[in-house]
C-alpha cells in the first residue's frame, strides 16, 4: 500500500514524559493536525528498581502510539481503515524484523479489523527518566512475584483476591494504566484497601498517559485495540520487574465473549482478553523479548460468580461495591458511575445474584427491565446455550453455533499441548455453570418484579 492510499498517517516524535508532538495527516481531506502525547512511567523507577530496559520502553511507546491512533481516527465508512505510523524506537532491528513486524500487524488487524503499517526509525533522542536512573537493585524484592493488570473492575479485584488467598507466598505487582484520572483514583483506592487486607503483599504501579490539543473531531469510541494497549503496558512493566509472564484476571464468559445473537458478527464483540488474543500477544512478546513470555488468564474457565465467591466467603464482601464493571462512558450525579443495564453491569449483577448476596453497588438504574436489548440479548444467548448443552453431543452442538470454541481448543491445544478433549469438557462445564447461575438470576428478577 502506498502512502497516499492510507487514510491516516501518524508521525510521532520520540515519546517523552512531557508533551511529545504528533503530526496527524488525514489524507482524504489533505489535512494536517498537531497534538501531543505524554506518558508518566516514573512509577516504574520507584522503590529502587533498576533502570527500565529499552525493550520495555519501546513497548510502552508502541502501546501509546496504537492507542492514540485507535482513539483519534474518525470511523465513518464500513470498510477497513489504513493507518501509517511513524514511530522512533530504541530497538530498531527488533521491531523491523519480519517475524516481529508481521505478528504486530496481524495482531492489530485481529483486534481492530484495520490495516496497520509501521515505519519504525532509530530513536536518537534523549532517553526518558526511567531509562537513565542509576541502578539500585531492590534488595528485598520478593521471590514469588505475580504481575497483573489492574483495572479497578470486579474481575481484576476478585481474581487478585482469589490469588492472594490461594497462594500465600506470592506478592503481586498491580499495573494500572489508562488516560482517565478518575479511573486511576479508583484503582488506587481499591489497591489501598486490598493492601490493608493483605499487608505488604501488593504493590500498585500506575502508568498513566495523556493527550493534549487533540483535533476537535469526534473521537472513536469503539476502541478495539484497548485491551492490547493495556496488555503491552503490563508486559513492559512485568519485563522490567524481571517477570516473564503477565496475569490478567477475567472470567471466562467475558473473556471468550461469545456473540449474544447472530446479529453480532466480527468485532461487534470485543476481543480484549479473548484466549486467542492472549496466545497471539504472548507469541509477539516472546519474539520481541527474545525469550518466552506468557500472558496468562488463570480464570478463563471460571464464571464471574466463581471468581467472586472467595470474596463473599471471606472478608472481601465490602470491597465489591467499590469496583466497577460498567461499559458505558458516562459521569452520573452523586458519584454513580455504573448504569446497571449494560451487558457488563448485568453480568456483574448476575454473578452476585447467583451467589445470593445483596448487591450494594450504586447503579443508575436498579431495575432490570427484561425488554431492554442487552438483557434480552443475554437471555437469548443463555437459552440458546442451555438448549445446545442438552443435545446428545453438547460439544458438536455448541461448536456448530459458536465456531470460535473449536478455534480456541485447536489453538490452545496446539500451543500449550493441553489435551483437546479435556479442554472441551472444561469449556462445556464453564457454560453449564453459567446457565445454572442464570437460572438463579432469572428467579431473582421475577421476585424483584413481583415485589415492586
Amino acid at each position: 500500500m502506498k502512502a497516499h492510499e492510507f487514510d491516516y498517517t501518524f508521525s510521532f516524535e520520540p515519546i517523552q514524559n512531557q508533551s511529545t508532538q504528533v503530526t496527524l495527516f488525514t489524507h482524504l481531506k489533505d489535512k494536517r493536525d498537531l497534538f501531543t502525547v505524554s506518558i508518566n512511567d516514573r512509577a516504574l523507577s520507584i522503590n529502587g528498581l533498576s533502570t527500565v530496559p529499552s525493550l520495555s520502553a519501546d513497548l510502552l511507546d508502541l502501546s501509546i502510539a496504537i492507542h492514540a491512533v485507535d482513539r483519534l481516527i474518525k470511523r465513518r465508512t464500513e470498510t477497513p481503515l489504513g493507518f501509517r505510523i511513524e514511530l522512533p524506537v530504541r530497538n530498531y532491528e527488533v521491531f523491523t524484523r519480519s517475524d516481529v513486524y508481521d505478528l504486530l500487524t496481524e495482531i492489530l488487524e485481529w483486534y481492530t479489523g484495520d490495516c496497520w503499517h509501521f515505519e519504525f526509525s532509530k530513536r536518537e533522542a534523549l532517553r526518558r527518566e526511567i531509562e537513565i536512573q542509576s541502578q539500585l537493585p531492590w534488595i528485598n524484592l520478593p521471590k514469588e512475584i505475580e504481575v497483573a493488570l489492574w483495572s479497578g473492575g470486579l474481575d481484576s479485584l476478585s481474581g487478585l483476591y482469589t490469588q492472594l488467598l490461594n497462594n500465600p507466598e506470592n506478592h503481586h505487582f498491580l499495573i494500572g494504566t489508562g488516560s482517565n484520572s478518575s479511573v486511576h483514583k479508583k484503582q488506587k483506592k481499591i489497591a489501598d484497601l486490598i493492601e490493608q487486607t493483605f499487608p505488604n503483599r501488593t504493590f500498585l504501579i500506575q502508568v498513566p498517559y495523556h493527550w493534549q490539543n487533540t483535533p476537535s473531531r469526534q473521537k472513536n469510541f469503539n476502541q478495539r485495540s484497548r485491551g492490547l494497549v493495556f496488555i503491552l503496558i503490563g508486559a513492559a512493566s512485568a519485563y522490567h520487574l524481571g517477570c516473564h509472564s503477565l496475569f490478567i484476571y477475567e472470567n471466562g464468559i467475558g473473556a471468550i465473549n461469545l456473540p449474544y445473537t447472530k446479529a453480532q458478527v466480527g468485532l461487534d464483540q470485543a476481543k480484549s482478553v479473548h484466549p486467542l488474543s492472549l496466545l497471539h500477544v504472548s507469541e509477539f512478546l516472546s519474539r520481541v523479548l527474545n525469550s518466552h513470555f506468557q500472558v496468562n488468564n488463570p480464570f478463563w474457565l471460571w464464571t464471574k460468580a466463581q471468581m467472586v465467591e472467595s470474596m463473599v466467603k471471606t472478608n472481601g464482601y465490602d470491597l465489591i461495591s467499590l469496583s466497577s464493571s460498567c461499559d458505558r462512558v458516562h459521569r452520573l450525579d452523586k458519584g454513580i458511575t455504573q448504569c446497571g443495564v449494560c451487558t457488563s453491569c448485568l453480568l456483574r449483577r448476575q454473578s452476585l445474584s447467583a451467589l445470593g448476596v445483596n448487591d450494594l453497588t450504586d447503579y443508575d438504574d436498579k431495575r432490570i427491565d427484561k425488554n431492554n436489548p442487552p438483557i434480552r440479548a443475554m437471555q437469548y444467548q443463555v437459552n440458546r446455550i442451555r438448549n445446545l448443552l442438552l443435545q446428545p453431543d453438547p460439544w458438536v452442538s455448541l461448536s456448530r453455533d459458536y465456531h470460535e470454541l473449536d478455534e480456541i481448543v485447536d489453538q490452545i491445544s496446539l500451543q500449550t499441548k493441553q489435551e483437546a478433549a479435556q479442554l472441551r469438557i472444561r469449556i462445556i462445564k464453564l457454560y453449564s455453570n453459567y446457565v445454572d447461575e442464570w437460572q438463579l438470576f432469572e428467579e431473582n428478577i421475577e421476585r424483584m418484579q413481583q415485589a415492586s
Binding site: R226, G227, T261, Q264, D268, Q269, N371, P373, R376, D406
Partner: protein, 216 residues
C-alpha cells in the same frame, strides 16, 4: 468501557419486513419472497470483493471434500490460518465491506464445521459456501434482530414471532438457492428483483380469519 459490545439495529430496508412479521397475518411464503429484496440489496452493498473472496475461499475446501476419510487427522488450525490470511490480503487490496467480510468468514467456518462433524457436502463448494453466506446475512441482518427488537411493540408475542420465522425458514432457503444460482452464473449480484411474487392478499369480510398466517 469504550470497548463495549455492539447491538446493531434493523436497517431501514429490513424494518418494513419486521413490521410485517410483527403484524402476524402475512403468510410465510410471501414473507420469504419479500425478504429477497433486502437480502439482494445487502449482498450488493457488501460489494463484489466479498463474493470474489468466497469464490477463492471455496477452492481451499476442495481437499476436504475429496478426502473425507482423512478428516479425522486434519489440522483444523490450517483452515483458520488460511481464511484469516486470505481475509487480511483482501482487506489490504480491496478494503471490502467489514460486515460482509465478517459474515463471509463466518460462512466459511460454518462449512468447515460441517466437514469437521462428518457431514458429506456433495454439491459444488462455491455454491454451498454462497448458500451459507446468504443465509447468514438473512439471520444476522434480519432474523436475529427481529427477536431482539421486538420490544418496540409491547403486545408482541415472541413465541408467535419465533414460529413465524421458523415457518419462513424453508421458503427462505429455497429463495436463497435462486440467488446463489444467479451469483454463480453472473459472478455478481444482479439487480434487486423479486424471484417470484405472491401478491399480498387483501382481507375481505368473507375470509376465514383463523386460516390467515397459515402456509397455504
Amino acid at each position: 468501557m469504550p470497548d463495549a459490545d455492539k447491538f446493531g439495529k434493523l436497517s431501514r430496508r429490513w424494518s418494513r419486513m419486521a413490521k410485517k412479521v410483527y403484524e402476524g397475518h402475512f403468510d410465510s411464503a410471501s414473507l420469504a419472497d419479500d425478504a429477497m429484496n433486502p437480502l439482494r440489496k445487502d449482498i450488493e452493498n457488501y460489494g463484489p470483493a466479498v463474493l470474489s473472496f468466497l469464490k477463492e475461499a471455496s477452492f481451499q475446501l476442495k481437499d476436504l471434500q475429496r478426502n473425507p476419510l482423512f478428516l479425522r487427522n486434519h489440522d483444523w488450525n490450517e483452515e483458520d490460518r488460511f481464511i484469516h490470511n486470505l481475509a487480511s490480503s483482501y482487506n489490504w487490496r480491496y478494503r471490502p465491506n467489514i460486515q460482509g467480510m465478517n459474515i463471509a468468514i463466518s460462512a466459511y467456518k460454518s462449512l468447515v464445521c460441517s466437514f469437521r462433524n462428518g457431514e458429506f457436502i456433495v454439491k459444488d463448494l462455491h455454491e454451498a459456501l454462497l448458500h451459507y453466506f446468504v443465509r447468514e446475512i438473512y439471520d444476522s441482518n434480519f432474523a436475529a434482530k427481529v427477536i431482539l427488537f421486538a420490544e418496540n411493540n409491547p403486545d408482541m408475542d415472541l413465541n408467535a414471532i419465533n414460529q413465524k420465522l421458523n415457518e419462513m425458514s424453508i421458503f427462505i432457503d429455497d429463495n436463497i438457492n435462486a440467488i446463489v444460482s444467479q451469483i454463480v452464473r453472473k459472478g455478481r449480484m444482479g439487480r434487486a428483483r423479486r424471484i417470484h411474487s405472491v401478491p399480498p392478499k387483501a382481507i375481505s369480510i368473507n375470509d376465514d380469519v383463523l386460516s390467515l398466517g397459515s402456509n397455504k
